[in-house]
């Protein structure tokens, strides 16, 4: 005998067997009992909850020759014919394949003739949402007032695609998702009949994954049986379905806390090597974060569905993150989960999500911040702020002081301290008292700028070249300001070694000690100056006055021309 999958073999045959839809089964049975059947029904609901099954049972129940308690007996000729799909009175039409207006016109023609056997001529249109608009409209008149012996039963997962004019002509039944308990008890029954040993914990694993659909549950059940034979343990299921080990969630949470990007990326690699389904992993991590949040806010683990050992770990982990951080993490993970659905490179998405989470700064709640500030002002003697606040302050100050580099993303309210590049000159580097030697003036510097560059190039070509791409802006006491076209230049010049080298050269050329200070040209927003100074050779021929920034600005903004006296 050919093997039938469980979902087909165990398709319910009477109203009583329908799982989880008691409200519908009862209504239909009462309708038959009181002879108040409608001529058109529409069944809607998610996949695998029993729409087609109910439609078939209803078709049999109204035609059955010997109904028992308004259930079909499944033994009489008519029932058997319908079950085998060779009845001349019951037409099961695939709405997705026969969706055109032509098919509906044929149907209308056929409706005029009465049933050959039994009381009713029944049209079951499955996937009815796929009918075209014209087809629906062609059906309207027939649907409103069909001959007394005709009954329509529509089934669909996408009720919103069915026109309202159709809906209003039908009695509508909404099928519910099937609860985990109901799925377990049904699978339990099937397992018993098929002589398969399986415990309730294992069934729970299956039912959880089925997500409210009986057919999904039975598909997984089938797969498990064909993998394990007649004796099934939860360990085998975990192996077969390759479920994610809880340990990974704890490790990821730790890594986020310790902020090690490297560890995070290596962890991502391990997850992928294990072959876990990445969406499943992210979903699991959302649940993990949710559990942490619950452990933190309710201070108990009652609402967590997990084994005792794991609950204990949640208890001890509860204070790792603040509530706001948990919410932000959940947001990141759920965004990533959403994006991964449509990504052909899920690995990248996972890695990015992990890096994002690790880079996330711990936030400080405004309420507690204000409280702390008040504490500080009241405790006048001791000005030492507590730990968290000082962290907050330093990180805040650093972002303010740092030169503008790259772009700061809106999703990262504050930068991590080590991510922020130190200002090119720190306070300690500026001597408080200038040394008593003659400092070069601006003109001195400009005159010898090309010499300075070529001197620098003599010993170290790379530095010289980079220097030649920068331009001199100003000299202020002993601070030599140089404008750099981008941060690559600035960073190179700011390397301690290079800075020292250049300062030595400057001393040789200008006879004075200077300190190098770099500014990004985007900050000076005076391209005219830069251009002028970038080519010092040309500058030599121009009167010095023209190189003065004020004059430059006049020329640029007002188109001023020099007057030769």
């Amino acid at each position: 005998m050919t093997y039938l999958v469980t979902a087909r073999k165990w398709r319910p045959m009477v109203f009583d067997d329908i799982v989880g839809q008691a409200h519908i089964a009862t209504t239909l049975r009462n309708a038959i009992a009181t002879n108040r059947l409608s001529h058109a029904y529409i069944f809607s609901g998610p996949r695998g909850v029993g729409k087609t099954t109910t439609a078939r049972i209803l078709a049999k129940a109204v035609n059955c020759l010997a109904p028992e308690n308004h259930n079909p007996d499944n033994k009489c000729d008519l029932c058997v014919e319908i079950t085998e799909g060779r009845s001349v009175n019951v037409f099961e039409i695939d709405g997705a394949s026969n969706r055109g207006v032509e098919e509906i016109r044929n149907l209308r023609e056929a409706v005029r003739y009465g049933p050959a056997k039994g009381k009713y001529k029944i049209y079951i249109i499955d996937e009815v949402h796929m009918l075209t608009k014209e087809a629906f409209n062609a059906l309207l008149k027939t649907l409103e007032e069909p001959p007394s012996y005709v009954m329509f039963i529509f089934a669909t997962t996408e009720i919103h695609k069915v026109p309202l004019t159709i809906l209003s002509r039908c009695q509508r039944f909404e099928f519910r998702r099937i609860s985990i308990e109901e799925i377990i008890s049904r699978l339990h029954l099937i397992a018993k009949e098929e002589k398969i040993t399986i415990d309730d914990d294992t069934l729970l694993l299956i039912a959880k994954r089925a997500d409210g659909s009986m057919r999904d549950a039975q598909s997984i059940f089938d797969q498990v049986v064909s993998f394990c034979g007649n004796k099934i343990t939860s360990q085998q299921i975990i192996e077969m379905l390759n479920l994610v080990d809880e340990e990974f969630f704890f490790r990821l949470a730790d890594t986020i806390k310790t902020k090690e990007i490297k560890v995070g990326l290596l962890l991502a690699d391990e997850i992928i090597q294990r072959g876990y389904d990445l969406r499943e992993f992210l979903n699991g991590f959302i649940e993990h974060l949710r559990n942490t949040l619950i452990a933190k806010t309710t201070k108990s683990t009652k609402l967590i569905e997990a084994s005792e050992g794991i609950k204990k770990r949640f208890e001890s982990d509860a204070n790792k993150f603040s509530e706001i951080d948990l919410l932000r993490l959940i947001q990141i993970v759920s965004d990533a989960e959403n994006a991964i659905k449509w990504s052909r490179q899920p690995r990248l998405k996972l890695e990015i999500a992990i890096v994002q989470m690790i880079k996330l700064d711990s936030s400080v709640e405004i309420g507690s911040l204000i409280e702390r500030l008040e504490n500080i002002s009241t405790s006048s003697g001791d000005m030492q702020p507590d730990n968290d606040l000082s962290n907050y302050e330093t990180s805040n100050r650093k972002t303010k002081d740092a030169p503008i580099r790259g772009s700061v993303k809106a999703t990262q309210p504050t930068l991590r301290p080590d991510q922020v590049i130190k200002p090119s000159i720190t306070l300690s580097q500026i001597p408080v008292v200038a040394e008593p030697i003659r400092l070069p003036t601006k003109n001195d510097i400009l005159e010898k700028w090309s010499m300075f560059v070529s001197e620098a190039r003599k010993e170290r070509i790379a530095i010289g070249t980079i220097l030649s791409e920068t331009s001199f802006i100003d000299i202020n006491n002993d601070r030599l300001c140089i404008s750099c076209p981008d941060d690559f230049h600035a960073d190179t010049l700011n390397l301690n070694k290079n800075r020292q080298y250049l300062q030595e050269i400057a001393e040789r050329v200008y006879g004075a000690k200077v300190h190098l200070e770099t500014i990004l040209s985007s900050k000076t927003n005076s391209p005219a100056i830069l251009k002028q100074i970038e080519s010092p050779q040309e500058n030599q021929s121009q009167p010095l006055a023209q190189q003065h920034p004020v004059i430059q600005a006049l020329v640029r903004e007002f188109g001023a021309k020099p007057i030769n006296r």
Partner: protein, 376 residues
Amino acid sequence: MSWSSVIGHERVKEILTGSLKRNRLAHAYLFTGPEGVGKYAFALELAKTVNCEKHLPEACDECASCKKIATLQHPNLHLIFNLPVGKSESADDSPLEKLSQDDILGIQEQLRLLAENPFYKLKISRANAIKINSVREIRREATLTMFGSGKKVFIIIDADKMNDPAANALLKTLEEPHADTMLILIPKMQDALLPTIVSRCQHIRFESLSEDIIGKALEERKRLDKKTAREISRIANGSYSKALQLIDSEYQNEQKQALDLLRLLLTRSHSEIIAVAEQIAKEKERPEIETTIRLLQQWFRDGMAIKENIVNPKIETDDIALGKFIRAYPLWDYQRTIEILEKAVSLLDKNVYIPLIIIEIAINLRLAVGVTPGAR
């Protein structure tokens, strides 16, 4: 061992041989997992096994039936894949009826390549979707009498490319097909399938292949020496197809082109970039551009990994261009770049005008480096 063209996947083998032994094969399977791990090869092997004249849980690879399936000539084996739409084609025509001679020849050539190498990826020009005609063909074929014993096997490649009517038309067949019929769906992305389709299939998940397995397969099948095989398996990212690509010189060429494009986008002025973009739009088809963007994305990912100091053997550290790049742009925002490119691919899928996509990439890349557009 006769699951011969299959590499790795012991767990999946166990599930399927278990079903075969216990006579519990489902009528519909959904094979999901990363690209290039051999889902199609596995499906073909399953088709062989159920049609093999010796009726063992493993195909014999010797009988006429096995050989015919291996060359894709068995009458019980049906492949369904993306097809172009012919001129004035209606849903009632058979899928190939209205196609031009050139199209048919192209498809035949692609199938020949697929028969030679089950890891080959079909590239049929202008083929954007699985047509409803093809799905109707499944229904029609399924009702015809079978050739010999065994099962009629329908392998639907890139099943997520079925458009809405096609997918819905498959539902009824998928739920209760004729006896001795088996459907195997292989989508690129599972979530692009209707939930109603997923729920009707037995879902089998494939995993990335480990480096050892890929390395061994390369040694045995491609006669590579141990060292090269290992090197390639390291960067193949768990995909055997990728490994095969890496051997291919065409791939290296593609990578070079991708880097050239990156250089252009970063250094040229806007007007030049517009010209380049239009040039590319003229010369290349969307799938080619997608490959280029994917290569760049991979490249930046490696950059991120190197920058985070992961001493991970996975990464080609001897990629000179990458090393230079990292040094030249110490503040480059890799994470953002990867997102930019991801967005570009999604725009590409949505049929956005190609030059616009390229210009968008160029502008955004300049933001990632911190240089404002037009500054250079």
